[in-house]
């Protein structure tokens, strides 16, 4: 395989900071030397533009409808990486039709040679669009918070991916942790359930890899409200340092 490593960022449950993590992880990866593209694959309810405070004239929608070229729709983002935003008007693409599949696949094939890493920021839930998007990736990053609902949905996502898709590295990032060691405990607990209910009978048993945890940090809320990258507004914050460490771990494998 040549070209970008494609990492799908997904969560099951919405509102766990998936897009926040994607954007800041992209900035951290760029600082560590990777050419990064974040592709907003949340076709129905895109909000990467909101997180990054971008008002794109050209979006994935325009690429899909042939109004613009891929080159023109790939925009520079504040953190030194590139973005391809879904934009509004994508609601018609929130169902997985053969056209949407071919378009998405086509876009991935075209961007792969031009970057070192593509982060696919998927939508929330386990819809067929999300599952299809994840199937295009080389590895999966599950973002969860310590809340039981988030963990249940993260587990449901892992379970359906393990049962239905090619085995690939599966990373976990726990967002909004409140104690040291909490993320490790969560990974352990998820792995136990996976071993008992998912890995049974699989030739390649799934091992969840913890890439890091982002502590609950007031700096995150500030950055989100100001619609800026945490790595720009508060690079010294604990949360920003945690994201930089997670990026290093992702690159390390």
């Amino acid at each position: 395989m040549s070209g970008a490593r494609i990492t799908a960022v997904t969560s099951g449950k919405g509102g766990v900071g998936k897009t926040f993590v994607s954007a800041n992880l992209a900035a951290a990866l760029s600082r560590q030397g990777e050419r990064v593209l974040v592709l907003d694959a949340d076709l129905g309810l895109a909000n990467l533009d909101v997180v990054l405070n971008l008002y794109p004239k050209l979006t994935l929608h325009d690429v899909f409808t042939g109004k613009t070229t891929l080159d023109d729709a790939i925009l520079p983002a504040p953190g030194g990486f590139s973005v391809l935003l879904a934009g509004s008007g994508m609601i018609e693409y929130s169902r997985l039709t053969p056209e949407v599949r071919d378009q998405l696949h086509d876009v991935i094939v075209k961007v792969r040679p031009r970057f070192d890493r593509v982060l696919l920021d998927t939508g929330a839930g386990i819809s067929d669009v999300v599952l299809y998007t994840v199937s295009l990736a080389d590895e999966v990053l599950i973002v969860a918070t310590p809340e039981p609902t988030s963990l249940t949905d993260a587990y449901a996502t892992i379970k359906i991916l393990a049962a239905s898709q090619t085995p690939r590295p599966m990373h976990l990032l726990v967002n909004q942790t409140q104690r040291p060691g909490e993320a490790r405990a969560i990974r352990h607990q998820l792995q136990q359930v996976i071993d008992r209910y998912v890995n049974v009978g699989l030739s390649s048993p799934l091992q969840l890899d913890l890439v890091g945890d982002v502590p609950l940090d007031a700096a995150v809320r500030d950055a989100v409200l100001r619609r800026e990258l945490l790595l720009e507004t508060a690079p010294g914050s604990l949360a920003a340092q945690a994201i930089v460490a997670a990026a290093a771990r992702l690159i390390g494998r």
Binding site: L96, Q165, V193
Partner: protein, 247 residues
């Protein structure tokens, strides 16, 4: 190789043509397996193509039953996965195992065992549609891939196959017939997304073990909604409440 060379002096039938290729073993194999005799002029390109086609056919079949072998089946499965990923059509994989086959061998001998395997293979081939592929995977184990099989028909298809085998008497010695049963496991290819043949077979195998451990002579298909999280799973997920730190 000079293709003109053999034309000048066609060798007698059954003799290897006078060029550098050593084809005697290949021709022997084809003769022994009773596969189609070659039509073209010996040594001609058309004849060589026929010979290659016949060898390919031979190496893609199971010698005992004449069904597809494991190699062919895995290729077909990979093709089906590609097709499903593009078309989104549902496809079912069934994996079957003859129940208590060792008893057949122990009681009636290995020749009887071979007859049983052949008869089961034939019953399977007779029960499925022309586009379905039946293979003998080895021993007493068979697999079937059924393209474009709607999920609602899965259990019916699996049951029809199981019942057909159970109702097929096999004459193991003159005047003595026995019947065997099969356990059937099945899993659908996930629509839209890519999977691997290995993973798909694993999932069908899990269901086969379930059918075996539930008492054999039955079919089990993977439940559709794999993303549902049971109360049991949640129980284990939250077993250590509040996630005590551990180091």
């Amino acid at each position: 190789m000079d293709p003109r060379a053999p034309e000048s002096s066609p060798p007698p039938p059954g003799e290897p043509p006078p060029h550098a290729l050593r084809l005697d073993v290949a021709l022997q194999l084809l003769g022994q397996s009773g596969l189609a005799s070659l039509q073209g002029e010996a040594g001609s390109v058309a004849w060589l193509q026929e010979l290659i086609d016949a060898l390919v056919d031979l190496s893609s079949r199971d010698a005992l039953t004449g069904l597809a072998n494991r190699r062919t089946f895995e290729l077909a499965l990979a093709r089906e996965i590609d097709r499903v990923a593009r078309s989104g059509e549902p496809a079912l994989l069934l994996t079957l195992d003859i129940d208590h086959f060792k008893r057949v061998n122990d009681t009636h001998g290995h020749a009887a065992g071979d007859l049983v395997i052949r008869a089961v293979g034939q019953a399977l081939a007779d029960t499925v549609r022309p586009m379905d592929l039946v293979a003998r995977m080895g021993g007493e184990e068979f697999s079937i891939v059924l393209p474009n099989c709607p999920a609602a028909f899965g259990p019916q298809v699996a049951e029809r196959i199981r019942v057909r085998v159970a109702q097929t008497p096999v004459e193991v010695t003159p005047g003595q017939s026995i019947t065997v049963t099969v356990s059937v496991g099945g899993a659908f290819a996930p629509q839209w997304v890519r999977t691997t043949p290995r993973l798909w077979m694993d999932r069908a195998d899990v269901q086969l073990y379930r059918a075996k451990s539930d008492g054999r002579n039955r079919s089990c298909l993977e439940p559709a909604a794999v993303s549902l999280v049971s109360a049991e799973e949640k129980g284990l997920l939250f077993a250590s409440t509040q996630f005590q730190d551990f180091t």
